[in-house]
């Protein structure tokens, strides 16, 4: 089965869901979310049946536009898994959503259908991004995703925070898109190509203006830096993450970031492989990585709102990921003593998916049933809901990078790469950042385990069966891949 069938199936699934919503009378529209999650789960299983590039008979233009390598498949699976979990979260989030969409009519389910369907379309876009190897298809797939997110971020239209977040994301996103197009234009102007493989050839020959090539790279880095939350293009992240509905924040923070990184990996590869400019490209990546590490970790320290804390944490993880990218050996040759940055980044993102979604799943439950997102809302959670507290504890330990968790292995590989490339300043910043991480991640653990609950009579938080299964599977994943990372290594 060719790989692009997967995207086709996902799009058809989205359309079907819309039709079902319109024509089938549903008592509880949350079944739509479960249906969607089921469909995505089936596609995730199908992704293991996809034929390898050797088996596929692809010819002509299409194979240049669309990669079917292991990397693409890996990120397609990340997109699918993220969407699946986001859909489960969305179903749990119905109550809050309802408060801000149609508060006058308590029984109304207006808008729920779209809220459950749009992530499916976004998923198709994310999957396409994973395969895009041509500047045009990169641009189109990226925009397809971003458009969906504009809507989703502002979905709670009676909530000022959500609306404000939507507007900010829209305007800053449009700004960054402008830079992307401008960069693509320059790159096309220099090389006369839009296919990345062809661009790589031209850049390797070195018969281009160095300044122009670097300028193009800087412009593209602006746009992709915006996507992944790299300093100095991170300003939108705290506000948008905090304002958006929690499941959408999770989606942005995992799906969008992972897709941003696969594009960044693909686009930066020709530049790093070119001897003419690779050292400059590495330098700028190092500077951005260092700044992101410092900003993400330091600014996270004083946060009291858990959602905002996770926003800064997402910036800090972008810093670690960029650190791995900046540790690509100049010329792109991987020595036999090192692992490749691509596999390190991919593993890190997969680990990041498990632990971040674990945290967001718990947060969604606490938000809907305790009504708050500040760290204070988590006080005494260990007494009232020990399972959720333990889950969040595991997520936080993995995010901080405690050994035996997937988060530790991810960080370990990043540091290994940086040390091998002698980026000692970056290593130092990374160490400081990781240490700061222990402080701010464990703050919520302290609240859960060592502080008395605000309201001792509060009932235990209910966890629906699908969510419970998802939580347990994610915990297992955090530990399994923390013990043996090999199956997730590209």
């Amino acid at each position: 089965m060719p790989a692009y069938y997967l995207e086709v199936i996902v799009v058809v699934l989205g359309l079907t869901l819309l039709l079902v919503e319109a024509f089938v009378p549903l008592g509880d529209r949350r079944s739509l979310a479960w249906l969607a999650a089921l469909g995505i789960g089936v596609v995730l299983c199908l992704s293991f049946l996809v034929s390898t590039p050797e088996q596929a008979e692809e010819t002509g233009r299409f194979s240049a536009l669309y990669a079917t390598d292991g990397l693409a498949l890996f990120y397609k699976r990340i997109a699918l898994l993220t969407t699946l979990l986001v859909l489960l979260m969305s179903a749990d989030y119905r109550k809050i959503l309802h408060q801000y969409t149609d508060p006058e009519r308590p029984q109304s389910q207006a808008g729920l259908g779209e809220f459950f369907t749009l992530p499916v379309f976004a998923c198709a876009g994310l999957m396409w991004m994973a395969s895009a190897t041509d500047l045009i298809s990169i641009f189109v797939s990226l925009e397809a995703v971003t458009m969906t997110f504009y809507v989703l971020v502002a979905f709670m239209r009676r909530n000022v925070g959500s609306l404000e977040a939507g507007v900010k994301y829209l305007i800053l996103g449009a700004l960054s898109t402008g830079f992307l197009v401008y960069g693509i234009t320059w790159l096309y102007g220099i090389t006369g190509q839009t296919e990345l493989s062809a661009i790589s050839e031209v850049l390797k020959e070195g018969a281009v203006s160095k300044t122009a090539a670097l300028f193009a790279f800087a412009l593209i880095l602006v746009a992709l830096g915006f996507k992944v939350g790299a300093v100095p293009f991170q300003f939108w992240i705290p506000d948008v993450y905090q304002g958006a509905p929690t499941p959408i924040t999770a989606f942005l923070s995992v799906g969008s970031k992972a897709a941003g990184f696969v594009v960044l990996l693909r686009v930066s590869e020709p530049f790093i492989a070119s001897e003419l400019i690779s050292s400059n490209v590495i330098t700028i990546l190092t500077v951005v990585a260092g700044a992101t590490l410092v900003y993400g970790n330091l600014a996270a320290i004083p946060q009291n709102n858990f959602k905002r804390l996770l926003a800064f944490s997402s910036i800090s993880h972008a810093g670690f990921l960029l650190m791995a990218l900046a540790s690509t050996p100049a010329g792109g040759a991987i020595s036999q003593f090192s692992i490749s940055p691509v596999s390190a980044i991919s593993f890190y993102l997969a680990a990041y998916l498990f632990m971040t979604l674990l945290a967001f799943l718990v947060m969604t439950l606490v938000r809907t049933q305790r009504g708050g997102e500040s760290i204070d809302s988590f006080r005494g959670l260990a007494k009232t809901s020990p399972f959720l507290a333990l889950t969040l504890l595991i997520a936080m330990m993995s995010l901080a990078g405690v050994p035996l968790t997937a988060g530790f292995i991810g960080k370990f590989y990043v540091f290994l790469l940086a040390v091998n490339q002698h980026h000692y300043w970056l290593v130092a910043l990374g160490v400081v950042g990781a240490a700061a991480g222990f402080y701010y991640y464990l703050k919520v653990v302290r609240a859960m385990y060592w502080e008395a609950p605000e309201d001792t009579s509060a009932p235990a938080i209910e966890v629906s069966m699908p969510t419970k299964i998802a939580l347990i599977l994610l915990i297992v994943a955090v530990f399994i891949f923390g013990l043996d990372p090999a199956p997730l290594m590209l």
Partner: protein, 608 residues
Amino acid sequence: MMEQLPWLILLLPLVSAATILFVARRVPNISALLSTGSALVTFVMSILFLGFGDDAVVPAYPWLWLGGTLEKGLVLEIGLQIDQLSRGMMFVVTTVGFLVHVFSLGYMRTDDGKARYFAGLSLFMFSMTGIVLANNFAMMFVFWELVGLSSYLLIGHWFQKDSAADAAKKAFITNRVGDFGFLIGILLVWAISQTVNFDRMETFFAGNPEVGSGLLAFAVICVFCGAVGKSAQLPLHVWLPDAMEGPTPVSALIHAATMVAAGVYMLARVAFLVEASELAAHVIAWVGGITALVAALMALQQDDIKRVLAYSTLSQLGYMVMAVGLLAAEAAMFHLFTHAFFKALLFLGSGSVIYACHHEQDIWKMGGLRKKMPLTFITFSIATLSLMALPWVTAGFYSKEAILAAAWHESAPLFVIAGFTAMLTAFYMTRLVLVTFFGKARTEHAAHAKESPPVMTLPLILLAIPSVIAGLPFFYERVQATAPEHHGEGSMLVLAASVITLIAGAGISFWLYKGASEDPLRIKLLARKFYIDEIYQGIIRVFQDGVATLLSIFDRYIIDGLIAQLPAYATASIGSILRRLQVGNLQGYAFLFALGVILLIWITLFNT
């Protein structure tokens, strides 16, 4: 199937431990049977295992890839090494392990924490198997620590008692000191040879005999630190006597026969490293010799039946370590092999006595048990004779001879120490048997003692067999690759020395303790174990108080004052600056965004 057998041996106890922990915890009897069943199966498998040829290759599983290749670099594998050494050791571990499981069924029958106890035993069997079968240092270290954990759990089984909880802590912390050195040693050896795999390491050192002598000696001594901790050699021996707070079967299995021997096993596994460094070999031999002597002296004046045996274990482990240092690793393994059986028997016998006397452990409150507990008495005596090395008819004789012969060939002073220690051994064991089993019953409990139930005496009988025959060639040749030769030059002298020391030690002891109702010897220095525990306490107190004061000053002024206050202030101010940036004002964001773009382009184009 046969290829996967070693994996099964490794994983079965883990499955049993996990099942008990997660499923069967509430049904203690099923837990006990589950654990004993898994021990039986591994026992049978390890006998099958003896039939494996040396060419049996077990596929290794690459675990963590940290750069480089298998040959050169750091790739951590989970792999099993199947050779004569590991097969023999597996036989010891599973035999003693299985019998101790059976014995525990009786000894722990009414214990409240029975399920927990058997889960701990299974965890221990898993960890110990891991050490024995590991084909590389990294994996061995992981299981080394797991063994430490299970030992901690089992010593502290009766954690309600402060003494047991303290002893568990002491064992764990003392071992940490040794393990710290061990880890450094492993890293240094890796730095020298670029591999942690034993086979490749051996090839490397065979191919590069002149490699960094000073560093290598240091590395080997660091590795030896691990053995010092685990095998309780001076100066880290203090935990083992205290570990007797654990249930007696645990003492027999872990603190006599198997875990404490892990240090010796590890040294035998890397015997090529010891051979590569003469200096390290000397250090190892002398540490072993001194431990053997000092521990035997301490054993002379102990009144607790288990503590006498504990110091005796220390002393025998000292023999083995000494043999490794004298480059006679086969002799060390041979003694480990025989010692495991008769020392486990001694401990289980003492367990039987303690059980019969209602958990009384003071030998002066026993006496006259010979008639009331004939089976225990006979088997205990057999083991005692084996430990005292009665010539020709006991297993201990052959293995001790091998070590004495090695000492005779290599170092005269160590030979004298070993000979003197043999005399002390005969002395304190004769004392132990006389006071416990002969004379009159000195307390009510002793007077009404009854023989233990068959589930406890059966393991004693089964262990008595190898205590006698394990030294004979037809038995040990199946588990031991090379028979340690002791029929060389001077063997008559060695034989004469061991006979004379045996007669002298036993004779003096018999003369002193025959019919004694209280100890005619009062040597406080020995009874108080040379005050080593007190000295450590003192050092730790002074050191800890000093360091604590220092740290408190450091903490208050440097950490709190400079490092915490300053960045806290800095963070707060940065935070407020950032907060001013994060005003939520869209125009502001767009402006900063543009500023960032300009900065980025400037750095890219003009500053690289």
